[in-house]
């Protein structure tokens, strides 16, 4: 192993410890449970793999890829966290946003279906590319919807979304390049861990303290009620006037 690999491993562990401390201190577990579940899984996985690696255990090879595939699948937990925080249950936009979001995912599933059942490259690479692409498209859809409907994102949600987008997009490029030419595999095998470090750095900075989405200004309910009753009275008066005009 090269020095770069050791640096990557140790800085990754240090960043994970730092993020765990911040997430605990800012009580983000309570605010972002789905994000926290992914992060805790990654944290436990990294330390288990680190100790297995340090002990030269054969179990390292056995559990590395299955746990990586589960981790990639858990990216959807972050996508869901970003969605549910951007369009919370009491938001009137939630239904519209959910319909568009599901529509985009169905479209993506159709593209996967039309691309045929044959595998391009290794099955693990194929799985990683497809999960990465689905996550990237989902995050971009949510960010696009938020921008379209003028929903402001807080620093926490922004960091989560951009961090996972950076990781997912690097996986798409990484696993495509690995299957394209085995000769460039050594170079690209470093990209994944470095993208993971980048994601952790983004999360450490943006999740340093609890910074939720700004709440929209509450509508003036009494004024709306007053306007509605005024309109209803006028509407009733118009009916009476028309009836009088038709039948004098």
């Amino acid at each position: 192993m090269h020095l770069v690999d050791y640096l990557t491993i140790y800085s990754g562990l240090a960043l994970e410890l730092l993020l765990l401390w911040r997430v605990g201190k800012a009580r983000l577990f309570k605010h972002y449970p789905f994000f926290s579940s992914y992060f805790l899984y990654t944290f436990v996985r990294s330390f288990v793999l680190f100790f297995l690696f340090a002990l030269h255990s054969r179990a390292f090879v056995t559990i590395y890829w299955p746990s990586n595939l589960i981790g990639a699948f858990l990216w959807f937990a972050i996508v869901w966290e970003v969605f549910r925080q951007t369009f919370p249950r009491d938001s009137r936009l939630r239904r519209v946003a959910a319909e568009i979001f599901v529509g985009v995912l169905l479209l993506l599933a159709l593209v996967f279906y039309l691309s045929g059942p044959q595998l391009v490259g290794h099955p693990v690479s194929e799985f990683m590319r497809k999960v990465g692409l689905s996550v990237a498209v989902s995050v971009l859809t949510i960010l696009g919807l938020a921008r379209y409907f003028r929903v402001s994102l807080g620093r926490n949600l922004w960091g989560m979304a951009v961090g996972i987008l950076a990781l997912a997009s690097s996986y798409i490029a990484n696993f495509a390049a690995i299957d394209l030419s085995p000769a460039i595999r050594p170079l690209w095998s470093r990209i994944g861990p470095l993208a993971f470090l980048l994601m952790l750095s983004i999360w450490v900075v943006t999740l340093w303290s609890y910074d939720p989405n700004p709440k929209p200004v509450a509508s003036d309910v009494p004024a709306h009620e007053q306007a509605r009753s005024f309109w209803e009275k006028r509407w009733a008066a118009i009916g009476t006037t028309i009836r009088r005009a038709v039948k004098p």
Binding site: S115, V120, G121, R129, G132, L133, A136, L140, L143, S152, L153, G154, R155, W158, G159, V162, L165, A166, A168, S169, S170, Y171, I172, A173, N174, A176, A177, D179, L180, A195, I202, T206, S209, D211, P214, K215
Partner: protein, 195 residues
């Protein structure tokens, strides 16, 4: 093969996009709407609340009068009036900064948890904003308001950030203590005005 090349390019583009998105991250917001509402209830900030300050520094109507009517004296009168109004607004903004700084010091005296570093930061920000305000007032008095709208907007957002900092500190005061604090602040302000 084509699919892999397409995905490689797409992945690289998305990665670059995420790096670009990082540059546009929303600023840190450590104030709550409740704290800002409480702050605006306790302190009156007419300079900061004045929404039309930008108009004072725009020269479009001055140019329009010169171009369409050719009456230089009227245009010059407009410029003088704008300068007077801009200076008046800047004075008001300065008063707001002093009020915010006094209020921030009161919060420290009141026992809001803070650190020496935080206090030094507050003092540094207040001095910087006041220094810039003084400079802008001198420039506006000498050269008129029309060339300084960018600077004025920058200083106004600086004062807004300063007030948000005060709001964040006020957010650490328990809600049940706010009425007492407000009353104490009013009594101090009355004493300050009468002295």
């Amino acid at each position: 093969m084509n699919q892999l090349i397409f995905l490689l390019i797409l992945g690289c583009l998305l990665f670059l996009f995420s790096l670009f998105a990082l540059l546009n991250a929303p600023p840190r917001n450590n104030t709550t709407p409740e704290a800002m509402e409480a702050l605006s209830k306790i302190i009156s900030l007419p300079g900061l609340d004045f929404m039309y300050a930008g108009f004072l520094f725009q020269e479009s109507d001055y140019r329009w009068i010169l171009r369409e009517t050719g009456q230089r004296s009227v245009a010059e009168q407009l410029r003088r009036d704008r300068r007077r109004l801009a200076l008046s607004w800047l004075r008001q903004l300065q008063t707001d900064v002093f009020a915010l700084w006094r209020f921030r010091r009161l919060l420290t005296t009141y026992g809001v948890p803070t650190t020496v570093r935080e206090e030094a930061g507050v003092a540094r920000k207040a001095v910087a904003v006041l220094f810039l305000l003084l400079g802008l007032r001198v420039f506006v008095a000498l050269f008129g308001p029309f060339s300084f709208w960018r600077m004025a907007a920058g200083i106004q957002s600086g004062v807004q950030r300063f007030s948000r900092g005060c709001g964040a500190t006020l957010g650490r005061v328990p809600m049940c203590k706010l009425a007492e604090l407000e009353e104490y602040w009013r009594s101090l302000e009355t004493a300050h005005v009468s002295s």
